[in-house]
């Protein structure tokens, strides 16, 4: 049973560019949440997707957008990258109907130069 997978592992972009990060949830999990973890800090909630809709959103600008596909996989898109967007981006999945336990993927390390 595969856990949460994310791609790519690392990514380097320049300011102003756009980036897409991908996540495949744990088998049987239908809810995907995205978090941003700056160096030396705790993860910050970006948004959550369930049934292909954004269900909740944290305090992040509209430059951050997402999508969930019918197979529950998800994408995080960030437009007009800023230096401050450099972080580890984490995807977490959960099975909405029975548990609020969230399982995290290994993350994508984004560096904005």
């Amino acid at each position: 049973d595969a856990g949460v997978t994310q791609s790519p592992t690392h990514l380097i972009k320049t300011r102003g560019q756009q980036v897409t990060l991908r996540c495949s949830p744990k088998s049987g999990h239908d809810t995907v949440s995205w978090y941003q973890q700056a160096l030396g800090q705790g993860p910050q909630f970006i948004f959550q997707y369930y049934e292909e809709e954004e269900r909740q959103r944290g305090n992040f600008p509209d430059r951050f957008s997402g999508h969930q596909y019918p197979n529950y996989s998800s994408e995080l898109n960030v437009n007009a990258l800023l230096l401050g967007d450099s972080a580890l981006y984490l995807c977490a999945s959960s099975w909405d109907r029975t548990t609020d336990t969230q399982y995290f993927g290994p993350g994508t390390r984004l560096t904005v130069l």
Binding site: Q41, G42, P43, L90
Partner: protein, 113 residues
């Protein structure tokens, strides 16, 4: 009101010692309190979690103590080992708010041999 405050920021103990990490919260709607362990370059891994209806929970060498009236909870690592050296995060969520996790700032624990 959404904050979770974690202390200390770092901790050094000898092998066999008991690191204790404390967290405090304000939002009384929080009803799920997990602890995550994170190694460098990896995503957070769920260690143990507790709900407010119990005051203590043990899983292996990890124990959560929960004080609902004080809105505080703590993690104890019994008989700590060098392999426990990692960053630990407390978190909290509310089922009524869709289970998004609010994390503490993290505690870097070093267990010396």
């Amino acid at each position: 009101q959404q904050q979770v405050k974690q202390s200390p920021q770092s901790l050094i103990v000898q092998k066999g010692g008991i690191p204790i990490i404390n967290c405090a919260y304000e939002n009384t709607a929080f009803d799920y309190f997990p602890w995550y362990q994170q190694f460098p370059g990896k995503g957070p891994a769920l260690l143990i979690a507790i709900r407010p209806d119990v005051s203590e929970k043990k899983e292996g060498r990890f124990t959560i103590s929960f004080n609902k009236s004080a809105k505080q909870f703590s993690l104890h690592i019994m008989d700590s080992q060098p392999g426990d050296s990692a960053t630990y995060f407390c978190a909290a969520s509310s089922g009524a708010a869709g289970n998004k996790l609010t994390f503490g700032g993290g505690t870097r624990v070093l267990v010396k041999p």
